[in-house]
């Protein structure tokens, strides 16, 4: 406990002595971790959008013109027997056309056709959308009745792919930023070490262990990491709150993630990464400094 207090007070002294480098380090960590957090939030939201598309998916089976009423009810029974099918609704071609005309009033389609140009169809809901492709391929085997099977899966698939690429891009960027940040943190702490070379020499001569000498510098790294990541978290919170407000106004149908838990997990991981960066920076600069360092010999 005594030595922890000592480490912290020594770390604060060290940071004060090289305040400019310290601030540069903190700001660099803030910027890097902010970008890291932005990528995490983007991929969280893309996944969320893909999921919400997926959960609203329906399969539409368009029936051939030749299908009779009895065949139709037979087919409906057959569909209901398929795995994961929860419900089947029939939409006649006339109702489908009325809906279509209503949805696109600006096209003035009202009196264009005497008979509906659309086919009869079944709308099928599943208990679990994971199996949507299996059900679709099963439906396609009813060749004599089925004109076409459609579902909105392609968009969701593309969404998921897009979010995957965003994650890869983010990962590459975060690795590059991490290396750059480490480089700056290492140099900041090395500056403190050089500032204190004399003290380190004397500490070693009076019998301080290497671990004892490292203590204040590791605390310094942790403090830099915490300050930097707190900055990043504050900016992320501000930016995300702003985004939620804007989005709700302009694009209300896009489901922005507002779940506190998921967002907090991201923020906590930003802080953890900051602390890890600080410790790693301290250890790297120490391994170099203590190795390179040789005693002030007695002359």
């Amino acid at each position: 406990m005594n030595s922890l207090f000592f480490y912290i007070s020594e770390a604060v002294i060290g940071m004060k002595r090289s305040i400019v480098m310290m601030l540069i380090s903190v700001i660099t960590i803030t910027i890097s971790l902010f970008i890291f957090g932005v990528f995490l939030l983007i991929s969280l939201n893309l996944n969320n959008i893909a999921n919400s598309i997926n959960s609203n998916l329906e399969i539409k089976v368009f029936l051939k013109e030749t299908v009779t009423k009895t065949e139709r009810s037979k087919f409906k029974q057959a569909i209901l027997k398929l795995d994961h099918v929860k419900k089947v609704n029939y939409t006649s071609k006339n109702i489908a056309w009325k809906k279509f005309v209503k949805e696109y009033p600006h096209l003035n389609l009202d009196n264009l056709f005497e008979n509906s140009p659309l086919p009869n169809s079944f709308t099928i809901g599943l208990d679990n959308n994971q199996y949507i492709l299996n059900v679709v391929s099963n439906l396609k085997t009813f060749k004599s009745w089925v004109e076409k099977v459609s579902y909105g899966g392609i968009i969701a698939e593309r969404m998921q792919k897009f979010s995957y690429y965003i994650k890869i891009l983010g990962l590459i960027l975060v690795i590059i930023l991490t290396i750059a940040t480490l480089f700056i943190v290492v140099n900041t702490i090395r500056l403190t070490i050089i500032n204190r070379q004399n003290e380190i020499n004397i500490m070693q001569l009076v019998g301080a262990t290497n671990n004892f000498i490292k203590g204040p510098f590791i605390i310094e790294g942790i403090l830099i990491g915490i300050l930097g990541s707190l900055g990043a978290v504050i900016f992320l919170k501000i930016a995300y709150t702003f985004l939620i407000i804007k989005c709700n106004k302009i694009l209300p149908y896009i489901p922005i993630v507002q779940n506190k838990l998921e967002i907090n997990i991201i923020l906590v991981s930003v802080i953890l990464l900051g602390i890890i960066l600080g410790i790693l920076g301290a250890l790297l600069s120490l391994s170099k400094a203590l190795k390179r360092y040789s005693f002030n010999k007695v002359k």
Binding site: S3, M203, T209, V298
Partner: protein, 226 residues
């Protein structure tokens, strides 16, 4: 007890710095290391602190072989050896108290114990009034006494002094040497490397004279010259 057995030291340039030194110093002894500049006096002190390694030979402190001592154990060796430097090596941005307490920091002592021990050594060197001064506010002799206080604050068994009077006037030199004798009375082994002929001749102790890396003379109650 300090024991050097067939110690030789040379650098890659094959110039022999120490040549087959055999030496035993008993617990509680007071020893002068004398000899011309470049003789190898400081090298012997560096070997004892394991700042340098001998090229050949064996070296023991209290029966422990320094050659076989692991790097991670070096700090514990040094906690048992106080060192006094000619250039003091005090930290300019820290007070006298902090400079001395520096040598006690890693013992996990309570604050009051640290205060007490620092005060005791300051009393011994006669500088209790300078507790809160910075080294730059002190004279050379006072700085050297602070350095001595730091070296002995944790009661080491051995005290090494390299030219402790090198930059001091004769009167202050006397004070410092009397102080070292006083510390020696507490059963601390004291080894002083010095060029100070007057003091060696006046405060008679064992004199080991080194010349060109070899022991030229080893005399109880010796003088600077034979």
């Amino acid at each position: 007890m300090i024991k050097l057995k067939n110690i030789s030291k040379y650098y890659q340039s094959n110039s022999l710095i120490l040549n087959n030194i055999n030496l035993t110093i008993n617990k509680g002894e007071f020893v002068y290391l004398v000899g011309p500049s470049g003789a190898g006096k400081s090298t012997i002190l560096n070997l004892l602190l394991k700042i340098e390694e001998p090229t050949s030979g064996e070296l023991f402190i209290d029966g422990v072989s320094l050659l076989r001592l692991k790097d991670s154990k070096i700090p514990y060796l040094r906690r048992n050896i106080g060192v006094i430097f000619q250039d003091f090596k005090l930290l300019p941005k820290r007070t006298v108290f902090e400079n001395i307490a520096f040598a006690l920091r890693f013992y996990n002592y309570s604050r009051s114990r640290i205060r007490r021990q620092v005060y005791q050594v300051l009393d011994l060197v006669g500088l209790t009034t300078k507790l809160d001064c910075y080294p730059t506010e002190l004279s050379g002799g006072e700085q050297q006494r602070i350095c001595i206080a730091r070296a002995i604050v944790n009661n080491p068994q051995i005290l090494l002094a390299d030219e402790p009077t090198g930059s001091l006037d004769p009167e202050t030199s006397w004070e410092i040497m009397t102080l070292l004798s006083k510390i020696n009375m507490r059963d601390t082994t004291v080894i002083v490397a010095t060029h100070n002929r007057g003091i060696v001749d006046d405060i008679r102790k064992r004199v080991i004279s080194i010349n060109k890396g070899a022991i030229a003379r080893d005399e109880e109650q010796g003088s600077y010259n034979s």
